[in-house]
């Protein structure tokens, strides 16, 4: 197992997933690039500073016990906000196996969507990576088009998109033998 870019690009990961088929070999586990999570990290830091400022302003209006409880609430809500975003990042994954490509999405922690495409149904793979930050941190979005009724798959903001496409194409070549 090899982890790169803060667990967002894992080669041969030791994981199991819901629709795992016996004998299936997991090759790649992908999450959004950590840089794309910067917005909520900055919000959290800003909120922490705001808590300190609010404390200075309101300290004279409340009793000590009230102030303590107010601080407990603010701290707990801030930590929950961080935890919620961390869970969102951690469980939104793309998986590439020797048989299939799987996209597991959790929207706002509450809604789950699992999209599966068999390798022999894949028709086209498109990489979209544009912009200063995408180029600098080497991340982008991959669209996988499938034939027939199988849903298309999107791996959003994943690191090293070109390498991922190469890997999938290698698997396709092996599978089709061309």
């Amino acid at each position: 197992m090899e982890n790169k870019v803060f667990f967002s690009y894992c080669l041969y990961p030791e994981i199991k997933f819901e629709t795992y088929e016996p004998g299936e070999k997991i090759i790649l586990l992908l999450r959004a690039h950590p840089f794309t999570q910067l917005s909520w990290i900055l919000y959290s830091v800003f909120s922490l500073i705001l808590i300190f400022v609010v404390n200075i302003i309101i300290s004279s209006f409340f009793a000590i016990s009230q102030l303590f409880l107010l601080n407990c609430f603010m701290a707990v809500f801030l930590l929950s906000f961080i935890w919620f975003n961390l869970l969102n990042w951690y469980f939104n994954v793309g998986i590439v196996t020797n048989r299939r490509v799987i996209d597991i999405d959790f929207y706002a922690v509450l809604y789950r969507e699992i999209t599966v495409a068999r390798l022999d149904k894949i028709q086209d793979i498109t990489v979209k990576s544009g912009g200063y930050f995408e180029a600098f941190f080497n991340y982008g979005t991959i669209f996988i088009q499938t034939a027939g009724t199988e849903a298309n798959i999107e791996f959003a903001d994943i690191p090293r998109p070109a390498e991922v496409v190469q890997m999938i194409e290698k698997l396709l070549t092996k599978r089709h033998g061309t």
Partner: protein
């Protein structure tokens, strides 16, 4: 009770304390419900994707529920 007496009740420190307490209790209850829902959802996520960090995630979710309970107790008895 006269109208002026009624308004004096709301101006008193005791009324503010009770308002604070009621809001704190409601927020704690909502937070407790939210924590339980997140834990249940994490259990579903765990089935969808089992990784070596999942035990740690369960531990943090349990801590979140404990924090919510402590907040509720503080809201009832401390303020």
């Amino acid at each position: 009770m006269e109208l002026s007496q009624f308004f004096n009740l709301f101006n008193s420190e005791e009324a503010i304390r009770w308002c604070f307490k009621i809001i704190a209790i409601f927020l704690s209850i909502f937070y407790l419900l939210y924590s339980v829902v997140v834990k249940k959802q994490v259990a579903i996520m765990d089935k969808a994707l089992t990784d070596r960090f999942n035990q740690f995630i369960f531990l943090v979710c349990s801590l979140q529920i404990t924090a919510a309970l402590i907040l509720l107790i503080f809201s009832i008895f401390l303020v």
